[in-house]
């Protein structure tokens, strides 16, 4: 199916936005370390002092 000029422009804009979005995600993830995240989750689950503080 042929696209009209404005449709091609719209498609290009969508593809560009998608590419930028993907770039944002890649930028966002830089630096965070899955092993550290696992350590944080484990620490919270195993050594919580929350209720002791709460009382």
């Amino acid at each position: 199916m042929m696209l009209r000029l404005y449709q091609r422009k719209a498609l290009l804009a969508i593809m560009l936005a998608a590419a930028l979005g993907a770039a944002t995600v890649r930028t966002a993830s830089a630096g965070s370390d899955p092993a550290t995240i696992k350590k944080i989750i484990d620490e919270g689950r195993t050594h919580s002092e929350l209720m002791k503080n709460f009382e």
């Binding site: 995600v25 965070s32 989750i41 709460f54």
Partner: protein
């Protein structure tokens, strides 16, 4: 904090104890630059007793509590009940000269809506996904917009009504708690906190069931007489309240910050466990977890992670507004603010306050937390808590969406807000979510994109 120190009404001695105690815990956990940031508030206040009963047409003990920052009755007082029909200031004129020595009931009680929803409640998938523009129904007290409008109009009229009743020589003003099953509601103005303000009138919130009984009897023409004694105390100190601040300094970009926050202050009918001891303790626990993780790995966060426990939230986000004002030059370098303030329930997701640019970022950050129940990121907005003070200054600021449990239906601002309502597993999950979020945002290449850049 909740059982030993107790409720933490802003500016009260108990609030100050809680602020000092949480600062100590931050130091115990190895946070740095721990300090209290004072801001002007006004007088502290401590409730005393509130006792009363109907004596005519029959004897019945009445359940009520004072509005905070209102005076007592100066001993036991007795008098008749006068019912008004006041929905606007103009309505008061016709009661001139008729309220001396009377207990004033200002308006017809709203009809108690039957509760067909089982409580406590967890957020359904449908509820979170259905309408991204609204507050989830489990976080609302009424779904009737007319009732909400009427309630707001009455709240606006209340200060004028108190002034009028005082000038007319009434004994006390009695309002309906508008909660079910004997629950009392502390939500009120803090009109008396200004030491220069003229003394107000004893004002109480009464159990809906008792208020309705008095209203129906007196409105129907019966003579209704009451006895009441209320003793409250003002605590005149330095007039300041405080925010508690501590941080884990960043290694690479220490001037840029990620803020985890909650309000430390509470109303004082219960002990402020779910509102917002829960958020405060989750922030403290997130601080402990992160300090432990960085110490164990010998690393620092890329940006500074700051932990703030605000005062004055219940009186209108006063502490967070004071913080934003004091630190306004730093706001451009605040990457994100994350607040927890809807009770004990586990975190289910994050609303991005209409900032669509951050949705893919948060989807990635929260992905490792799916295993502990965090599923949703959407554009939804959260109302009525401290992230708004930052959001209004253009800072990306968010409040986590939690399972409501029985927050709006029972504990919010009521005497039922006590430690036994806390679900440890849920709140520990919330602490972990806060810690992981702060860690991941602190490690981003850039600060979070501002909403205006979308």
């Amino acid at each position: 904090m909740t059982d030993v120190i107790g409720p933490r009404l802003t500016g009260s001695n108990k609030f100050k104890r809680a602020a000092e105690w949480t600062a100590k815990r931050m130091r115990d956990y190895g946070l740095q630059n721990v300090h209290l940031e004072s801001w002007p508030f006004g007088r502290g206040w401590q409730r005393g007793i509130a006792y009363g009963r109907m004596t005519v047409p029959y004897e019945m003990q009445l359940d009520f509590r004072s509005y905070a920052w209102t005076p007592g009755t100066r001993g036991k007082v007795a008098g008749k009940v006068v019912v008004l029909d006041a929905s606007a200031e103009d309505d008061l004129e016709k009661y001139k000269g008729k309220l001396a020595g009377a207990f004033v009931i200002p308006w017809e009680p709203p009809k108690a809506e039957p509760d067909f929803n089982p409580q406590p409640a967890r957020m359904s998938d449908k509820e979170f996904k259905e309408d991204e523009t609204s507050v989830p129904i489990t976080l609302m007290r009424t779904s009737d917009p007319e009732a909400a409008k009427r309630s707001m109009a009455r709240l606006r009229l209340l200060p004028k009504l108190m002034k009028f009743a005082k000038e007319e020589g009434a004994l006390a003003l009695i309002t309906d708690s508008v909660r079910r099953d004997g629950l009392l509601n502390a939500s009120s103005y803090a009109l008396g906190r200004d030491p220069k303000a003229p003394e107000s009138i004893a004002t109480v919130t009464m159990a809906h069931e008792h208020y309705g009984t008095l209203y129906r009897l007196a409105h129907g023409g019966a003579e209704v007489r009451l006895e009441m004694e209320v003793t409250n105390y003002f605590e005149d100190g330095d007039g300041n309240a405080a925010n508690v601040v501590g941080e884990i300094p960043g290694g690479e970009k220490p001037e840029e910050t990620v803020i985890l926050g909650a309000h430390l202050d509470s109303w004082d009918l219960g002990t402020g466990a779910t509102d917002n001891g829960a958020g405060s303790m989750a922030v403290l626990e997130a601080a402990r977890i992160l300090r432990q993780a960085y110490t164990a790995s010998g690393t620092k966060p890329r940006r500074t992670i700051r932990f703030i426990l605000f005062g004055g939230e219940e009186q209108g986000l006063l502490g967070s507004m004071a913080y934003v004002k004091t630190h306004q030059e730093e706001m451009a370098k605040v990457s994100g603010v994350f607040v927890l303030d809807t009770g004990t329930g586990r975190v289910r997701g994050l609303g991005t306050e209409g900032n669509k640019t951050v949705i893919p970022i948060f989807n990635e950050i929260l992905a490792p937390l799916r295993g502990i129940g965090v599923y949703y990121v959407n554009g939804r907005t959260q109302v009525g808590t401290d992230h708004l003070s930052f959001k209004f200054r253009g800072v990306p600021a968010f409040a986590f969406f939690q399972d409501a449990i029985d927050y709006m239906s029972r504990t919010h601002h009521t005497q039922a807000d006590t430690l036994d309502k806390i679900l440890p597993d849920d709140l520990e999950q919330a602490s972990i979510v806060m810690a992981v979020t702060a860690y991941s945002v602190a490690e981003l290449d850039q600060v979070l994109p501002r909403k205006s850049s979308t």
